[in-house]
C-alpha cells in the first residue's frame, strides 16, 4: 500500500510538472494577446485576428516587423497571432493549417521558401483568407497574394552609391563590392549602387570611382572576411568596400584591420542592424542605407485594413531606405 501511495504521489508530481510548465510558459503570450486586445476591446470586442509567420523570429528584423504589426493591428481593433517557423517550410505550412482552422482574418507571410509554401497559400486562398507578404515575395504559381510590402532595395543601393561618392571625395578610388547573388534583394542593391557610381564617373575625367572586384560575401562575417582578405592581396591600394549587409561589412572590417589599413579603406554597409549601427558609431563603417522594419509592419497592416474595407491600396508597396551615418549614430539612444 505504501508503494501505491508513493506511486500516486510521483505520478501527480510529474503531471504537475508537465502541465505546470506549459501554463506558466504560455502566460506571456496570453498576456500579450489580452494586452493587445485590451487596448481596444474596452469599447468593443476584437474584430478578428491577423496572423504573422515570418522567416524566423531569431532575426530582430522580423521581430520588429512583428511588434509593429501587433501595435498597428491593436490600434485598428485586431488581435495578432505571431508564430515562428524557424526557417522551416514544413512548420510554416503547418502554421497555415492552424491559422485556417482557427479562422483568422488575414495572414502576413515571409515565405521560408518562395515555391514550397505555394500549396499552403492556395489552401488559404480557397478559404477566402487573404495572404499578404512582407519583405520577401512568394513566387509559387497560382498562389494569390493580396499585397506586398518590401524595402526599395534599388533606391537603397543608390543611397549607398551617393555615400560612397561622399566617402571618397574628389579623388575617387578603387572599390570592392561584397555581393550575395542568391538573394534578389542584394542584386538590386548592387545594381542601384552601380547606377549612381557610373553616373558619377561619366561626368568626370579624373577622380573616377573604379569597381575593381565583385566577390561573394555570402551576407556573412566569415565570407566577408575571407573575400576582403583575398581582395587586399590583389589590390593593396583598395580605397573602399561596399558590402550588401552588415555582417559581411563587419567581416570586411576584420580583414582590413588585420592588414592595418583601417584608416585607408572606407566601408559602406547595408541594413542598419544593431551591430552595424554600433560599427558606424565606432567608425568602423562609414554609413549604412537602413531598412525600416517598423514602417513595413505598419504599412502592411494599413494595407490589410484597406483591403478589408474594400478600398484601393498599393499592391506592391516599397518602403524607401534612408542613409544612416556617424552623425545619426551619435544621436542614437540605442547605442553605447
Amino acid at each position: 500500500m505504501k508503494h501505491i501511495a508513493q506511486y500516486l504521489g510521483l505520478t501527480a508530481l510529474t503531471i504537475a510538472l508537465l502541465t505546470g510548465c506549459s501554463p506558466s510558459s504560455d502566460k506571456p503570450t496570453t498576456d500579450d494577446s489580452s494586452k493587445a486586445a485590451g487596448d481596444t476591446s474596452a469599447p468593443a470586442k476584437t474584430k478578428g485576428t491577423i496572423a504573422y509567420t515570418p522567416l524566423t523570429l531569431s532575426n530582430p528584423f522580423f521581430k520588429v516587423i512583428g511588434d509593429h504589426i501587433t501595435a498597428e493591428a491593436a490600434k485598428n481593433g485586431y488581435d495578432t497571432l505571431m508564430v515562428d517557423p524557424d526557417m522551416n517550410v514544413k512548420k510554416q505550412s503547418d502554421q497555415f493549417d492552424d491559422f485556417i482552422s482557427s479562422g483568422v482574418t488575414a495572414i502576413i507571410l515571409v515565405p521560408c521558401d518562395r515555391l514550397s509554401i505555394g500549396p499552403a497559400v492556395k489552401l488559404a486562398n480557397a478559404k477566402g483568407i487573404p495572404v499578404f507578404t512582407v519583405d520577401a515575395k512568394c513566387a509559387a504559381e497560382g498562389a494569390e497574394i493580396a499585397g506586398h510590402v518590401g524595402t526599395d532595395n534599388f533606391q537603397g543601393g543608390e543611397l549607398a552609391g551617393h555615400a560612397m561618392i561622399q566617402a571618397l571625395g574628389e579623388n575617387g578610388g578603387k572599390v570592392l563590392i561584397l555581393d550575395f547573388k542568391k538573394a534578389n534583394s542584394c542584386v538590386l542593391r548592387v545594381a542601384g549602387f552601380k547606377k549612381v557610381v557610373n553616373a558619377h564617373n561619366s561626368s568626370r575625367t579624373t577622380g573616377k570611382i573604379q569597381i575593381v572586384a565583385e566577390l561573394n560575401g555570402n551576407g556573412a562575417r566569415t565570407e566577408g572576411y575571407q573575400s576582403t582578405a583575398d581582395a587586399l592581396q590583389a589590390h593593396s591600394d583598395l580605397d573602399a568596400v561596399f558590402a550588401i549587409n552588415d555582417p559581411s561589412a563587419l567581416g570586411a572590417y576584420t580583414a582590413i584591420e588585420e592588414a592595418k589599413k583601417q584608416d585607408q579603406i572606407k566601408i559602406i554597409g547595408f541594413d542598419g542592424q544593431l551591430d552595424g549601427k554600433q560599427g558606424i558609431k565606432d567608425g568602423k563603417i562609414f554609413a549604412d542605407p537602413i531598412q525600416h522594419p517598423d514602417k513595413m509592419g505598419q504599412q502592411i497592416v494599413q494595407n490589410i485594413i484597406k483591403y478589408l474595407a474594400g478600398e484601393e491600396y498599393e499592391k506592391d508597396a516599397l518602403i524607401p531606405a534612408t542613409l544612416y551615418d556617424k552623425a545619426a549614430a551619435d544621436q542614437d539612444p540605442d547605442l553605447n
Binding site: 502541465t19 506549459s22 508564430v83 503547418d94 492552424d98 482552422s101 515555391l115 514550397s116 500549396p119 474595407a309
Partner: protein, 448 residues
C-alpha cells in the same frame, strides 16, 4: 500481484492522462467567439432576419468567398426570397466586391432595409456603412444581420483536430519503425535525412520519367523508387550494425550525414518541383469521410504494426532481441535477421515519410526533415518505450506522437514563440524518461 497490475495500469495510462490534460488546457486557452457559416446557420439567420424585416423589404446578401461561403449565401437568399423578402443582390467575394454591391445598390436610389452577411462581411458593413451612406443615403437605414456567435475552443474544432493528426502523420509513421529499433535497444538517427533524400529522389525520378507533365503512373513509380532507395539505405544500416557490429548510434549518424549531403547534391541545393498537382493526393487529399489521406494511412500502419508486435512471432523476436540478445540467440531467435528487418523497415517508413512530405508541398526539398529524427525519438520515448530495449508498445508511440502534435498545434494556436516550444519539448521528454526510470526502479522493488 494485484498491486503490480494496478501500478502498471497507472503508468500505461499516465501518458494518456498527460495527453488529456494537454488537450484540456489548450481547449481552455483557445476558447473564442465562433461564427457559424453552415447551411443550418444560414437558415436560422434567414428566419431571424425575415422575422424582423417587413415583407417586400429590400436586402442584400454578402459572404466571403471560399469555404462554406457559397452554400451559406445561396441558402440565405433562397430562404429570404421564400419569406417574401426582396433580395437585391447576392455577393460572394472579397471586401471590394461587397463595396461594389453596396454602391451599386446605392446608385439605384432605393432604400436598403437590411444586409444579411457572414461575420467577415458584417464586420465590413459595420465599419463602412456610415461612410458609404454619406454618398448613398439609401444605405443608411440598413440593419446588419449576422449569424449568432457561440463560444467554442479553436483547439476542439473538427478541422483543427484533423490538422493535429495530419501534421504529425509523417513523424508518427516513422516512429513505428523507430519503436521497433529502440525496442531492440538500437537507435536510428538517419530518418530525418532520409525524408529529404526520399523526397528529392522521388521528385527527380518523376521529373526524369515525365518531364514537366508527369502522368499518375510516373508519380507512383517515383514514390516507389524513393521509398525503396530509403529501404536500401536502412538495409545498409542494418548490415553495418549486425555484420560489422558498429554501434547503431554511429552507423546511423554516418548515414544521416551521407543522405543529407546526397539530397543536396542530387537536387543541386534547390527544391525539385513536381509538375502534377495530383502528386498532392497523399499529403493533402481527403477522399474518405473527409479524413486526410495521410491520417488514414497512419492509422492503417499503426493497426498493422500493433498486430505485428502483439500477435506474431516477429514481434516476439523483436522484444526478445531487445530484452537479452544472448538469451534470444540461444533460444533460436535469428537476431541478425531481426535487426536487419527493423532497420530496413525504418528506412522504408522514412522513405514513405519523405514521399508524404514532398506530396504536401508538391516539391522534393533537400531542406526538409531537419531534426525530425529527434521528434520521432521523442514521440517513441514519450510513448513509454524504454531506451534500454525490450520494452515498449506501438499504441504508446501513437499517444506519444499525439502529445508532441498537440503541444505543437496548441502553441501555434496561442502564439507561443518557438524557443519556448523547444523548452517545453525538452521538459516533456525529460519527464517521460523520468517516468520510464521510475517504472523500472519500482518494478525491481516489487520483484524483491
Amino acid at each position: 500481484m494485484r498491486n503490480f497490475n494496478y501500478i502498471g495500469f497507472l503508468f500505461d495510462y499516465g501518458t494518456l492522462l498527460v495527453l488529456a490534460l494537454l488537450c484540456g488546457w489548450f481547449s481552455y486557452v483557445t476558447i473564442e467567439e465562433q461564427s457559424p457559416t453552415s447551411i443550418s446557420a444560414a437558415e436560422r439567420l434567414a428566419k431571424r432576419a425575415s422575422g424582423e424585416l417587413s415583407t417586400e423589404a429590400k436586402v442584400i446578401v454578402l459572404a466571403r468567398q471560399g469555404g462554406e461561403g457559397e452554400s451559406f449565401a445561396k441558402t440565405l437568399s433562397e430562404q429570404l426570397t421564400q419569406a417574401g423578402i426582396s433580395v437585391g443582390s447576392t455577393t460572394i467575394g472579397k471586401p471590394t466586391d461587397a463595396r461594389k454591391a453596396l454602391t451599386d445598390f446605392g446608385n439605384t436610389g432605393k432604400e436598403l432595409a437590411g444586409i444579411i452577411a457572414d461575420k467577415h462581411m458584417a464586420n465590413f458593413a459595420n465599419a463602412n456603412l456610415a461612410k458609404l451612406g454619406q454618398a448613398h443615403p439609401g444605405l443608411v437605414k440598413a440593419k446588419i444581420f449576422q449569424p449568432e456567435s457561440y463560444r467554442w475552443p479553436n483547439f476542439l474544432k473538427k478541422e483543427n483536430l484533423l490538422n493535429v493528426m495530419k501534421q504529425i502523420s509523417v513523424v508518427a509513421i516513422i516512429a513505428i519503425g523507430m519503436t521497433m529499433v529502440i525496442i531492440t535497444a538500437g537507435i536510428d538517427l538517419s530518418v530525418g535525412s532520409l525524408i529529404a533524400f526520399s523526397g528529392v529522389i522521388t521528385a527527380l525520378t518523376i521529373q526524369s520519367l515525365g518531364g514537366s507533365a508527369p502522368t499518375s503512373g510516373d508519380l507512383w513509380l517515383g514514390a516507389m523508387v524513393g521509398i525503396l532507395v530509403c529501404g536500401l539505405a536502412g538495409l545498409f544500416t542494418g548490415g553495418l550494425v549486425t555484420l560489422f557490429r558498429i554501434p547503431a548510434f554511429i552507423a546511423t549518424l554516418g548515414i544521416m550525414f551521407i543522405a543529407k549531403g546526397l539530397a543536396f547534391i542530387f537536387s543541386d541545393s534547390a527544391p525539385v518541383p513536381v509538375g502534377n498537382e495530383a502528386f498532392g493526393w497523399l499529403g493533402r487529399g481527403r477522399d474518405f469521410l473527409g479524413l486526410p489521406n495521410s491520417v488514414i494511412l497512419m492509422l492503417i500502419l499503426f493497426t498493422i504494426a500493433h498486430v505485428m508486435m502483439t500477435r506474431t512471432s516477429i514481434g516476439r523476436y523483436i522484444y526478445a532481441v531487445g530484452g537479452n540478445p544472448e538469451a534470444a540467440r540461444l533460444s533460436g531467435v535469428p537476431v541478425k535477421w531481426v535487426l536487419l528487418f527493423v532497420y530496413t523497415l525504418t528506412g522504408l517508413l522514412a522513405g514513405l515519410g519523405g514521399v508524404m512530405e514532398a506530396s504536401l508541398h508538391t516539391t522534393g526539398d533537400p531542406k526538409s526533415g531537419d531534426l525530425v529524427e529527434l521528434k520521432v525519438i521523442a514521440a517513441v520515448v514519450v510513448g513509454g518505450t524504454s531506451l534500454a530495449g525490450g520494452q515498449g508498445r506501438i499504441t504508446g508511440t501513437l499517444i506519444g506522437a499525439f502529445i508532441i502534435a498537440v503541444i505543437n498545434n496548441g502553441m501555434n494556436l496561442t502564439g507561443v514563440e518557438s524557443h519556448m516550444q523547444k523548452v517545453i519539448y525538452g521538459t516533456v521528454i525529460l519527464v517521460a524518461v523520468l517516468i520510464d526510470r521510475l517504472k523500472i526502479h519500482l518494478l525491481k522493488l516489487k520483484k524483491t
